[in-house]
């Protein structure tokens, strides 16, 4: 009973439930929500956040953070535009851009693991640096004339369904991330690193190497997102995806990932991403102003941390009452002779 109680109040489950409730309510009451076009918009616009949230969740679980993701995405988009203008075939450009993302992640990772710098500081630095490089690379250009089959892939739907074509690859990536975090020794070691780096090191876990891998993966996914972004919106500019890092961080936090590291589930994070995305979509359809939407997002975040806390206190109080109503302690047994 206490186990099922504590399980029931786990925040990631709550976020998942909230998402389902929101979707059901919106289907039945909000005009224009349920049609496949809107749903495809909703998912398509949320995908960039979701893509980055995958590695970000792993990173945060291991106690680090990467705020440079949006800039890495912007830089990849910018380089993609530049190379495209230079006449390179897109099939070569995309691997090059992904490689660039890997390099960006590697720089972050090396600064954090080799020099022992705090990742928050490092990635605030590279947030500016990568965006700045993007600006140097592409300047004021906006590249829009990418090949149509790529644009169609990034913006199109699967037949007439509500699913964007890009959703399937995302599902594959999601599955990979879930397995890696929750079912492999690597994932297990991330939780240990996040909860206590020193104890993890003493258990023979290669802390630095694992963190480096995560930063590289994050860079890779950020650049993939940058490419997707440029194709989805058919526009490569140096300021693509500006501010995306805050959306990612907010969603991941909402999904119950603890920024002190060591706690959280990918399901929760992704539920958080889509909860925020769906909420914004619904509020826009209901003509809620952008300002009020901001307030709602904020309140949701505050509730997301106060909620579990209150739930825990309630369950503790209940357990206390149960214990109090338990039979009175017997008289102390006499010492054994």
């Amino acid at each position: 009973m206490p186990e099922s109680l504590t399980r029931a109040v786990r925040w990631d489950t709550v976020v998942g439930a909230l998402l389902v409730v929101l979707l059901l309510l919106s289907f039945s009451t909000v005009d224009g929500f349920g049609n496949s076009l809107n749903l495809s918009f909703l998912i398509g616009n949320t995908l960039p956040v979701a893509l980055i949230a995958l590695p970000m969740t792993l990173l945060v679980v291991s106690g680090e953070i990467d705020l440079s993701v949006a800039s890495t995405a912007g830089l990849s988009g910018a380089v993609m535009g530049k190379l495209w203008n230079a006449g390179l075939p897109i099939e070569q450009i995309i691997p090059l851009c992904l490689l660039l993302g890997v390099v960006c992640g590697l720089v972050n990772g090396l600064l954090v693991t080799r020099l022992g710098l705090p990742s928050l500081a490092v990635t605030i630095g590279t947030l500016a640096a990568y965006r700045g490089i993007a600006q140097i690379v592409l300047g004021s250009d906006a590249v829009t004339d990418f090949p149509t089959q790529y644009l169609d892939f990034a913006a199109g739907r699967l037949g007439n369904s509500f699913l964007p074509q890009a959703f399937l690859p995302f599902l594959v990536l999601l599955a990979i991330a879930v397995v890696v975090l929750h079912a492999t020794p690597f994932g297990r070691s991330l939780f240990a690193i996040g909860a206590s780096e020193e104890a993890a090191r003493f258990a023979g876990i290669r802390v630095k190497r694992n963190k480096l891998i995560l930063f590289v993966a994050t860079g890779f996914m950020a650049s993939l997102t940058g490419i997707f972004w440029a194709l989805h919106y058919a526009s490569a500019r140096y300021d693509n995806a500006t501010g995306l890092e805050l959306s990612v961080v907010a969603s991941v936090l909402l999904g119950g990932i603890d920024f002190d590291g060591g706690k959280g589930t990918l399901g929760g994070a992704i539920a958080g991403v889509f909860l925020l995305g769906a909420l914004q979509n619904v509020m826009s359809l209901l003509n809620v102003s952008a300002q009020s939407q901001i307030v709602v997002t904020g309140v949701l975040l505050v509730v997301s941390v106060l909620g579990p806390r209150v739930a825990r206190q309630i369950s503790v109080a209940r357990a206390g009452r149960r214990a109090a109503s338990a039979p009175v302690s017997q008289a102390p047994p006499t010492p054994a002779a």
Binding site: G32, N45, W84, T144, Y233, N281, A290
Partner: protein
């Protein structure tokens, strides 16, 4: 192998004009026109959209405004295009944060029968039916140089303080400024630098400081952005450069009144944003009523004035107004 830029034939650059226009069609009433500025709460766009709202009221249609709260949240703006599409408005007036990013969504909207007008900042031409240009870019660029040159006596170093490096309209104006400066009468005027303040008060501030430190002999600054000119004016008025360095550009009378009065700025210019919104609304209604389709050469009446659609569906508002100490008090926006 692979797909390169040269494999991709450049898409039709003309605007999306479909069907035929019936100039005599009745103006429909009861339409809904959605305004989607770059940023809600931005005073400039609020004035413009207010103008649109008044026009729509007069025409018997209804107005709504949606938009992102940040001027760099392109994906947010795209979502709002989608939202308007979902809500089945009859037409939308959009000021695009990005010429390309909104295209897919706007085309979706048009394919759902929604008329799209851009104003203030355009998208690529095939993603909308018409663009309402605040003033001809050429006029704006050239007159600003003319204003400043006169103030500094056609002699000395000048600089430009722009907004973001990617701001399309800014860049077009700056191109025309350079063309104007190439004329022989400006042979003693030297453009030394274009700085970018990113439409941020602090950055514009510091860029102004930097310009003055780097070029101690700077005689004048052109800032073709309302945020930039305001920040530059505030810096100048509190520094030793006040009155020594001339400043002009695009600003609103309300922002600039103080600096004109205290002698920091002698003249600047702007179009009336409310008129811009007004024209956008009327164009949207004309499109939705079938009076125009957006083809070059079509004409229509908006209020008392008659406008002709130019190349690529561009409709120009007219010449900007120059404000100075003698006339500034008769404007309030």
């Amino acid at each position: 192998g692979g797909t390169t830029k040269s494999d991709v034939k450049s898409g039709s650059s003309s605007n999306a004009a479909a069907g035929t226009a019936d100039p005599n069609a009745a103006t429909k009433k009861g339409l809904t026109v959605g305004f989607l500025p770059k940023q809600v709460n931005n005073p400039y766009f609020t004035s413009a959209d207010k103008g649109g709202e008044a026009a729509l009221k007069e025409l018997g249609s209804s107005y709504k405004e949606v938009g992102p709260s940040s001027a760099t949240d392109t994906s947010g703006q795209v979502s709002y295009v989608n939202t308007l599409t979902q809500q089945q408005v009859d037409a939308m007036a959009v000021s695009a944060q990005d010429p390309g990013a909104l295209c897919t969504a706007l085309k979706q909207a048009m394919s759902n029968g929604i008329k799209v007008v851009t104003y203030d900042s355009d998208t690529t031409a095939d993603c909308r039916n018409a663009f309402i240009s605040q003033a001809s870019a050429e006029d704006l660029g050239r007159t600003e140089v003319q204003l400043l040159a006169k103030q500094i006596g056609y002699k000395g170093q000048i600089a430009i303080l722009s907004a973001a490096q990617t701001a399309t309209n800014q860049n077009t104006w700056i191109d025309y400024m350079k063309k104007e400066l190439a004329l022989p009468k400006y042979k003693d005027v030297k453009l030394v630098k274009v700085a970018y303040g990113n439409d941020d008060a602090q950055q514009s501030f510091q860029q102004t400081q930097g310009l003055l430190q780097e070029y101690p002999n700077l005689k004048g600054i052109i800032s073709p952005t309302t945020v930039g000119i305001k920040a530059a004016a505030q810096y100048l008025s509190g520094s030793k450069y006040k009155g020594k360095v001339e400043l002009t550009g695009l600003g609103t009378p309300n922002d600039m009144r103080k600096y004109v009065k205290n002698g920091t700025v002698s003249a600047f210019e702007l179009w009336d944003p409310a008129k811009l919104g007004d024209l956008a609304a009327r164009t949207a209604v004309a499109l939705a009523s079938g009076q125009i389709t957006g083809k070059e050469g079509e004409t229509f009446k908006a209020g008392s004035t008659s406008y002709t659609i130019g190349k690529d569906g561009v409709i120009s508002l007219g010449k900007p107004t120059v404000f100075n100490a003698s006339n500034i008090d008769s404007f309030n926006f």
